[in-house]
């Protein structure tokens, strides 16, 4: 029996992976928010594009034959600007967004562009110069902009190297002088990759190495604040750390930035050699999604807690309700079934049956609303309400079985030996009737979970249900996959427990039977 239980436990892993794979495959068909009429009207064009990107909808599902890195994006933007077509404005905006990271790929090519296009590109880059802290009227003037950028590149091309970016980032994390800030500002988005690396060291995810010991606590927070500030400045993303924020706030902020980086890193990094081949596989919806699950625990919510944390907090009340309700329902169904079988009064039995059906036919929502209107509150009452609507099924099933078993030979034998009706039912018949009832209990588990959602809503308990409704309405894939995962885990463990119980109740079905699928003797 133990071996059987262990074998079933080993199956949990593959099942859970299959469940997440299925839900991923399913949820990758979640309607494109950019095409959802309800969403499009409330968002501007840029927000819609951003929404698509955070869900990786701009990437192919499983294989990316042409991963777009910063060079490819620059190529695309320059082509549009050169043609000066209707997408030129969009291309200019994307150049500004790419910022410093794009400069090493744009400026050396300025000479190769046609004169007209050259001016356009140079002017388009003007906001980047401003962001880098080099305010210049020249940059905005079409006649002088090209000259400005050529001069800029001859002066500073040396700075745009990974080693320099790393040095500047490290320095800023150590000292917060305005010089260091300006140094990093001049690199603009070019330094983002390094900033993210250093941030990860400063605020490592839970469970990995402890934060750098060499640095005092408040120094570390200040360093995080400075780096986050630099990243926010370069990207224009408004997510900074306030002056007096706590450790957990800092970690949450870094986590949000890392999640953002996961989505946007292709904008600021180049793929060369092996990393280009790797990107073919990793720059896909599936890989990004899996990365998010593994690295960030299903991704950070708006308030910086991961979905795993949130699932944990919300699953507890829900699962408590479900467990109590199942125990209550099966306990009372068993008691009622026995009573009905022992008394053999068909009128009483009919009455119980009608009552059980009436309770079943009244939806949990109505029952719960009624209880709350009468002033009921609390987990216990919520469980009771849920249990009431679950009695009918095991009662009816158990009754049908008891009726059948009562005619079996061994019952007649027991009766002939002088066993009273209670003894016959409880000791002889019950054991066989229990079997399908227990099997039913495992399948009732999901139903109970669904019912728990309703009960939670009525009783105002913040459990899984509330969050799920929100996720469905906002097409929040991360939560839904997480929910599928938790449900699957709960139900699988429940079903293993029932299987063990079944084997315990009916030894004929124990190990040998389950292994060979059929009883041999």
């Amino acid at each position: 029996m133990l071996r059987h239980a262990l074998r079933r436990l080993l199956w949990i892993g593959p099942i859970l992976i299959a469940v997440t794979l299925t839900s991923f495959a399913l949820l990758s068909y979640v309607p494109d928010p950019a095409e959802d009429p309800a969403v499009v009207t409330t968002l501007s064009g840029e927000q819609a594009v951003e929404l698509r990107r955070t869900r990786f909808l701009d990437l192919p599902r499983f294989f990316n034959e042409r991963p777009l890195d910063v060079i490819a994006r620059v190529d695309l933007a320059l082509r549009h600007l050169g043609k000066d077509d209707e997408e030129a404005a969009e291309a200019a905006r994307s150049l500004v967004r790419l910022g410093g990271a794009a400069l090493p790929h744009v400026l050396p090519r300025l000479d190769t562009l046609e004169p007209a296009a050259r001016g356009g590109v140079a002017v388009a880059l003007a906001p980047v110069a401003e962001r880098m802290g080099i305010p210049s009227i020249e940059a905005r003037d079409p006649r002088h902009a090209v000259a400005f950028w050529v001069r800029f590149w001859t002066d500073r091309s040396v700075d745009f190297r990974a080693a320099n970016a790393r040095r500047a980032t490290r320095r800023l994390s150590l000292h917060g002088t305005s010089m260091r800030v300006a140094d990093l500002q001049e690199l603009d988005t070019f330094a983002l990759e390094q900033i993210m690396l250093v941030l990860e060291e400063l605020a490592p995810p839970k469970g990995t190495a402890t934060p750098q010991e060499t640095m005092p606590e408040d120094g570390r927070l200040a360093a995080i604040r400075r780096l986050v500030g630099a990243a926010a400045h370069a990207t224009g993303r408004d997510d900074q750390l306030a002056e007096k924020s706590s450790e957990s706030e800092a970690i949450a902020c870094v986590r949000r930035w890392r999640e953002w980086w996961l989505v946007h890193q292709a904008d600021y990094t180049t793929y060369g050699g092996a990393s280009r081949f790797l990107a073919m596989l990793t720059d896909t919806q599936y890989a990004r999604w899996a990365e998010k699950v593994v690295l960030l625990g299903f991704g950070a919510g708006a308030e910086g807690t991961t979905i795993v944390d949130k699932l944990k907090n919300r699953a507890i009340p829900t699962l408590t309700i479900v467990t109590i309700a199942l125990l209550l329902a099966y306990g009372s169904a068993l008691a009622l079934g026995t009573a009905a079988a022992v008394r053999k009064s068909s009128r009483e039995e009919m009455l119980i049956l009608v009552a059980a059906f009436a309770l079943f036919a009244v939806p949990t929502a109505c029952l719960a609303t009624w209880a709350v209107r009468r002033g009921g509150v609390g987990l216990g009452l919520a469980s009771l309400v849920l249990a009431l609507s679950m009695i009918a099924s095991p009662f009816a099933q158990g009754r049908a079985l008891l009726r059948e078993i009562e005619r079996a030979d061994y019952i007649r034998t027991a009766r002939a030996l002088g066993a009273g009706p209670l003894r016959v039912v409880v000791l002889h018949a019950m054991r066989n009737a229990l079997l399908p009832a227990v099997a039913l209990a495992s399948v009732e588990m999901p139903t109970a979970l669904g019912g728990a959602f309703v009960v939670e809503k009525v009783f105002g308990i913040s459990g899984l249900g509330e969050e799920t409704v929100r996720a469905v309405q906002t097409h929040d894939v991360a939560w839904l996959v997480g929910l599928a995962f938790v449900t699957a885990l709960t139900v699988t463990i429940g079903s293993i427990a029932t299987d063990v119980a079944i084997a315990a109740i009916d030894p004929r079905l124990s190990l040998a039977a389950l292994r060979h699928g059929r009883v041999t003797a």
Binding site: W11, P14, I15, A18, T22, L26, Y29, V30, P31, D36, V354, F357, A358, F360, A361, V362, P363, T364, A365, C366, T369, A392, S393, A396, Q397, A400, R403, E404, R407, L435, P436, A439, L440, V443, P446, T447, A448, L449, G450, G451, V454, K457, G465, V469, A471, V472, L480, L483, A484, T487, A488, V491, T492, I502, R508, L509, H516, G517, R518, V519
Partner: protein, 320 residues
């Protein structure tokens, strides 16, 4: 006549349950004769229309019964339904009005007639329930029997598959599908509930088949050279009738209850649907016993009828 059928008919509960089901089915089919916005038969401009609100929806569907009746030619007879209000028509009076002559059970939060909605809801609810139960039953019976009879690798494979489908609570599964849909549909509700219900029935069937195969008569059949598939589908199947009948009774009701839970959670059944589940979901607009009672009663009646029939089936196949 099949002897089993004769035994079935001799049972009082079988006759009563079947009669009740027949009445419900009659109401479902002929709901338009009991309560409708339009006359049953009327003549307009020389053409005679039968159930104009249904057959000529574009032309008559949006008008009240008085308007439609006024369009009829005066010298031709007009046959009016028993209740002159349809399930979607909005009453002129205030919503949530109590019983009156025009609205025997009053109106709901949107001013729609409660009685008309219960009568018309029978159609959608029974159809949904029957289709889900049938699909779940076929799916579950075939998979469960195969798993139990074939054993070994097949058993494991089918068990795992059923487990993966079955781990999703119907409400969660529909929620996942809802996230995919632009607008909620009844079809997804039916398919998902049937799949989840079928997985449950498959597990039940497998346990029962395993149990039955341990009996002496199964060993005897094997000794006679019957193949596992033959034993499972021919010898074991009659033993499955009773528990499967009981299980499918609950499958029928589960659709209406899932529908209620969904509309209560704002996960939306299409708002235009006229069904008991949708009516029960009105509890979220503060509907009281007057509005919910009839729907609960109707659902309870259906359940009772089905259970009586299922119980009769059990008794029919029980050893004499």
């Amino acid at each position: 006549m099949n002897p089993a059928f004769g035994r079935f008919l001799r049972l009082k509960r079988a006759r009563f349950g079947s009669l009740l089901l027949a009445v419900l089915a009659f109401v479902a089919v002929f709901a338009d004769f009991f309560a409708s916005d339009a006359p049953i038969v009327m003549t307009v401009e020389g053409n005679t229309y039968f159930l104009p609100a249904v057959t000529e929806r574009e032309r008559f569907g949006d008008r009240s019964i008085a308007e439609v009746a006024a369009m009829a030619e005066p010298d031709h007879a007009v046959v009016l339904p028993l209740l002159r209000v349809g399930p979607r028509g909005v009453a002129a009076g205030p919503p949530m009005a109590g019983p009156s002559l025009a609205h025997w059970l009053g109106t709901d939060a949107f001013g729609r007639d409660v009685l008309a909605r219960v009568l018309h809801g029978t159609r959608v609810s029974l159809a949904l329930g029957a289709s889900v139960a049938l699909m779940a039953l076929v799916f579950g019976y075939v998979l469960g029997t195969l798993a139990g009879a074939l054993g070994g690798v097949w058993d494991s494979a089918i068990e795992r598959f059923v487990e993966i489908v079955g781990v999703f609570p119907a409400v969660v599964a529909v929620a996942l599908v809802r996230a995919l849909e632009q607008r909620p549909s009844l079809l997804s509700l039916v398919l998902v509930t049937a799949a989840v219900g079928g997985a449950n029935i498959a597990r039940l069937t497998r346990t029962l088949v395993l149990r039955a195969l341990a009996e002496d008569w199964a060993t005897a059949a094997r000794a006679l050279g019957a193949s596992p598939a033959r034993i499972a589908f021919v010898h074991v199947t009659p033993h499955l009738f009773a528990p499967l009948a009981v299980a499918s009774v609950f499958a029928v009701a589960s659709v209406a209850l899932t529908e209620t839970a969904l509309s209560f959670l704002d996960l939306g059944v299409p708002a235009t649907t006229v069904s008991w589940g949708e009516m029960l979901g009105e509890v979220r607009w503060g509907a009281g016993a007057r509005i919910l009672g009839p729907a609960v009663l109707a659902l309870g009646l259906t359940l009772t009828a089905l259970y009586l029939v299922a119980d009769a089936i059990r008794k029919t196949f029980q050893n004499p």
